[in-house]
């Protein structure tokens, strides 16, 4: 998107990332560079290892081997796997964000909508109540949640609203890298479209880099600059999104693309 190219250094570099569950492979020898402003999609069928990979990248799972290097604001490129736990937690609260498929996993359901957004600000040191509430209000507006819902709990929201609230909660701290796990999964088609439009706008305006796991090829066509195809824990193909979808080289990708009605 807008800033995809300005800087020559990758924001995020992954090398030889491997995760096993006993004898079974979660993901094996995954490597890629993600540059500032780039959006990468990861597709594959259930069990292909895409969620395992995303969770290893985001620090939710500990891989067995590999490097996950992030270009930190203060210290430059650092391997997040060898960071201390507090450092990694700080990263997860500031420069990183994680949007779960199920908004219930990313929201605090017993806390008001405004509180959900404000909480993340407070976690990075914001203390002024008025300023926090104003920022929360601004973000609710950006994700198209009416201002008069600020004191309502998300448990009373529709699925699409909950997902938009989760996005506001995640992006309010101005992260540079967002992980998304099936962000439009489980939503009605019309709600999906609204969310796609919203995500695309936010990614462009904020110059975000993002890694999006999905099984929906139409979603990656619209959101992702680049695409990675996984099967059995291995990356079988990666490249420019429209190249991988229009001229797939690997047998599995050809099967995947030809199995869809229209992408």
């Amino acid at each position: 998107m807008m800033m995809a190219t300005g800087s020559a250094a990758p924001l995020f570099s992954v090398r030889g990332l491997t995760k096993r569950y006993g004898a079974r492979i979660g993901c094996a020898d995954v490597g890629f560079d993600l540059f500032p402003g780039e959006v990468m999609g990861i597709v594959g069928e259930s069990g292909s290892g895409k969620s395992t990979l995303l969770n290893c990248l985001a620090g939710h799972l500990v891989p067995d081997a590999g490097k996950v290097i992030f270009d930190t604001r203060t210290d430059g490129p650092r391997d997040t796997l060898t960071m201390s736990e507090p450092e990694r937690r700080m990263l997860a609260r500031t420069d990183w964000a994680f949007v779960h498929q199920n908004p219930r996993d990313g929201l605090r359901m017993g806390v008001s909508a405004g509180g959900n957004v404000g909480e993340r600000l407070m976690a990075v040191g914001a203390r002024n109540y008025g300023a926090i509430r104003a920022t929360a209000l601004d973000w609710l507006g950006r994700v198209e949640i009416a201002a008069d819902r600020i004191d309502d709990r998300p448990s009373g929201f529709s699925g699409g609203m909950q997902q938009r609230l989760q996005i506001a909660r995640n992006l309010v701290t101005g992260p540079r890298l967002v992980f998304m796990d099936e962000p439009t999964g489980g939503l009605d088609v019309s709600v999906q479209a609204r969310l796609l439009d919203l995500l695309r706008g936010l990614v462009r305006e904020m110059g975000l880099s993002a890694i999006i796991v999905t099984h929906d090829l139409a979603v990656v066509r619209l959101l992702a600059d680049r695409l990675m195809v996984m099967k059995g824990g291995h990356v079988v193909e990666q490249g420019l999104t429209d190249q991988v979808l229009d001229d797939p080289q690997h047998a599995y990708t050809q099967l995947l693309v030809s199995s869809v009605l229209q992408v």
Partner: protein
Amino acid sequence: MIRVENLHKSFTLHNQGGAVIPVMAGASFSVAPGECVALIGSSGAGKSTLMRMIWGNYLAASGHILVGDTDVAAAEPREILVLRRATLGYVSQFLRVVPRVPTIDVVAEPLRVLGVPAELARARAADLLTRLRIPERLWALSPTTFSGGEQQRVNIARGFAHAYPAMLLDEPTASLDAANRETVLGLIEEAKARGAAIVGIFHDEAARARVADREIDVAAFTPRPA
């Protein structure tokens, strides 16, 4: 501006017994700034394949595709993204957009991505939509609900929003009425006049005769059966 050198391409169909279908061999040609070259040849001869290889959504087996300083056949995805943002435009036959986005923003988007302020980008979009006779009351609606001809015109407006130095046009006048066809031919002539290098596919022979400076018969690049 565009230089294709000794380009080869084949498709391997893994799910059909690994059949390898050679589709292009030794394609070479170049297009100068301000020049429009029409690809001709019978259906299936490889016109669209060649155009997609220049756009970069079809991989080349070997050879070079230079657009400006970028070799599309060898470039990294992000280099191709940069090329597409500022240098190489493509008017395809299909409009692919995020549902729900207003037509005016769909057309303004290529400029917004380049950092043009919203007001300016929208003004340019409005100008193009007006010239292409999309009624103003439709601008706030998503083009996904429009007729085929209207979608085609939105697609053309989007493709011409930014003054790309190189452009690919796939049947730009197909399914247009006489007045809109005239507008599109005018846009192509303006693009040539400002120095754009254009590769086009035109089944509309009169249109081709008017805007194309040269024709290239892709049959010359069809691999001979072994």
